[in-house]
């Protein structure tokens, strides 16, 4: 397969924001709907950090009082991903809520099988938002697809009065209100907004590390206007999240020509048609990253991307492909920089591609770290503890 070479560095190009944003401002539309008595807006709690989005508008990122809308794929198959997000909050001394009154957004299934419809999808979203509102904590979305889908739901609710009516009736049956948050916030935006505080607590030197970045499609392509951009990162031609965090931690972020390509997840494909996911992930992403940038790891910020980029490398190795690139989420890298345990917190044993060389490059002894984890687990096996708790890993 032929890849176009990187002919000029994206970092050198200049980007000017358009004077008139090409999209409607959802803030104004939500405000109007609230004035008309149609919806309740859950406002971003103080304190918040202001960032700029693709078309130069301000987005508020809450610092704390966050209601963590968890991800099926992260919690189910890469649980160190969400654990690292919670760990960061705890280490920074921030108030957060990990709710049980939360369902999946169900969008993975919707994009895979279409066995749902706009009414159901909006009702699931608003049920979760209303639950967050009832607690007083502000929703922060862990999954890139949940984030993308909830933006779609917000857009549909803004534009279709009949959909609002239907959802309002459904919520009334459940004893809930039609609540839409002032901002739909992805956890990686929170990590980005908190990067200075994370840097202050960095204890692991990462200045000799090179990483590539894969931005998730449903973060920056699906309803693109919510995504964070800044002239300091790739001249605002690419989203600033992940890269902004890694650069703050001293990591060299290397460019590669297929950065815009998706990971190959495909929703339906990763579950029942994985030959496509494997081929795309390896041939269009992993091999290109290794050939062009030779990084120590690749970092992304979504459930499907970590899964596909990581798990696809096993079969590719058997075919002699150029693979073996560790795949981590930005929350895991940030936690690692702050001294989190690679197995007790990052839970790297749930990842597939060998990451021990990367840990060794950071000055850690992977065998020693694994032995520490096993020692903790032994207490569960001998019955002296039922669960490990935060006190066991902090």
């Amino acid at each position: 397969m032929i890849h176009l070479p990187v002919i000029s560095s994206a970092k050198d190009r200049d980007f000017q924001l358009a004077e008139n944003p090409p999209t409607e401002d959802y803030h104004e539309q939500l405000e109007q709907l609230e004035k008309d008595g149609e919806i309740i807006i859950q406002r971003v709690p103080e304190p918040y950090i202001e960032v700029k989005t693709k078309f130069g508008r301000i987005k508020k990122i809450p610092v704390e009082k966050t209601w963590h809308h968890k991800s099926c794929g992260q919690c189910g198959h890469i649980p160190g991903y969400s654990t690292s997000i919670f760990w960061l909050n705890r280490q920074l001394g921030l108030d957060y809520l990990d709710p049980k009154d939360q369902t999946s957004c169900t969008a993975w299934n919707y994009y895979a099988s279409a066995t749902s419809n706009p009414e159901a999808q909006a009702a699931v979203a608003i049920r979760n938002f209303a639950s967050a509102f009832e607690t007083g904590y502000f929703p922060i979305i862990h999954c890139g697809t949940s984030f993308g889908h909830y933006k779609e739901v917000r857009q549909a609710l803004i534009h279709y009065p009949e959909l609002r009516d239907k959802v309002r009736k459904i919520m009334a049956k459940l004893g809930k209100k039609l609540v839409i948050p002032e901002e739909i916030v992805h956890y990686s935006e929170w990590v980005y907004a908190m990067r200075d505080r994370i840097k202050e607590r960095q204890v692991v030197d990462m200045s000799h590390i090179t990483a590539t970045v894969h931005p998730a499609c449903h973060y920056h392509k699906l309803i693109e206007e919510d995504a964070i951009y800044t002239p300091e990162i790739y001249g605002a031609q690419r989203t600033a999240i992940i890269t902004g965090v890694l650069e703050k931690l001293g990591i060299n972020v290397a460019d590669y020509s297929t950065w815009f390509d998706c990971c190959g997840f495909g929703f339906r494909h990763i579950l029942v048609s994985r030959d496509f996911s494997r081929s795309f992930s390896v041939q269009r992403k992993i091999e290109v990253m290794i050939e062009e940038a030779n990084p120590d790891l690749t970092v992304t910020h979504d459930t499907g991307c970590v899964t596909t980029l990581d798990q696809s490398q096993f079969a590719a190795k058997a075919h002699g492909k150029k693979v073996g690139l560790p795949v981590l989420a930005d929350s895991q890298v940030a936690a690692l920089a702050m001294g989190a345990h690679p197995y007790k917190v990052l839970q790297l044993h749930w990842h597939n591609t060998d990451n021990t060389r990367f840990l060794a490059k950071l000055g850690m002894d992977p065998d020693e770290k694994w032995a520490e984890f096993e020692k903790s687990v032994a207490r569960l096996q001998d019955g002296s503890k039922q669960f490990l708790t935060w006190e066991d890993v902090e």
Binding site: G76, Y111, A114
Partner: protein
């Protein structure tokens, strides 16, 4: 790569009336006119950005064109033989005409499912366990789905996870993550509310259309819990 047959011969036995009825159902979707399709420059940017176009005989441009021309024959062919190849990544949203072929395909898939097309059933063959999981438990994938026979191409590490599943889940510090059958612990009240949403929005009817057996299982599971929660009648 299997070539896509666009000759109109493959579905000649299906009447034009039926094909036009399905096209009208696509066009009647509220998202169709407002956000999915405005026209097409034929520039091919959507195809260049599309992952599926690289590995299948698949083109978001052809789908957008067929819909824009209201070519019921071609839309029917694509609705059967092409739309399930889409990755739903929405890379095609970079269309300079502001089309969303990805959204158009979402709508076409919904129509295919609602009408029980045989090709939709075939595309979702083997996927029923996922629908069951998300609809009955509220999380799409669960730790106990990591079994070597389900993911043989992910290697021995899946076997290791399956062997240590219970203990590794209990080693997770967040207390909501100690589950093995769901991604996280979900309260009973939350699940009941989800079941009510499925019933109130016609999703159960869609499942019945696409997979009668799965529908029966879901009804059994839901009925019991809904009755326990005091919902004897869910015909809203």
């Amino acid at each position: 790569m299997m070539a896509l047959d666009l000759s109109y011969n493959k579905y000649a036995d299906v009447s034009l009336d039926e094909k036009e009825r399905l096209l009208e159902e696509v066009k009647a979707d509220m998202r169709y006119q407002d956000h999915a399709l405005y026209g097409c420059y034929e520039c091919g940017i959507c195809v260049a950005a599309c992952p599926s176009a690289r590995f299948y005989d698949f083109s978001p441009r052809v789908i957008a064109q067929a819909a824009a021309r209201e070519d019921a024959d071609l839309v029917y062919t694509l609705m059967n033989d092409s739309i399930w190849d889409c990755s739903q990544c929405f890379s095609c949203d970079r269309c300079p005409r502001h089309n969303s072929p990805g959204m158009l395909i979402t709508i076409m898939r919904e129509v295919a499912v609602r009408n029980g097309l045989g090709t939709a059933k075939a595309a979702l063959e083997g996927y029923g366990r996922i629908i069951y999981k998300i609809m009955s438990t509220g999380t799409q994938v669960s730790p106990d789905m990591l079994q070597p026979n389900a993911f043989p191409d992910w290697g021995g590490h899946v076997h290791e996870i399956a062997e240590n599943l219970d203990i590794w889940r209990r080693a997770l510090p967040p207390e909501t993550l100690h589950t093995t059958e769901t991604g996280w612990e979900i309260s009973d009240k939350t699940i009941i509310e989800l079941y009510l949403i499925w019933h109130m929005t016609g999703v159960m009817d869609m499942i019945q259309e696409i997979d009668e057996g799965l529908y029966d299982i879901l009804v059994d599971v839901m009925e019991e819990r809904l009755e326990e929660a005091g919902y004897d009648d869910v015909s809203f």
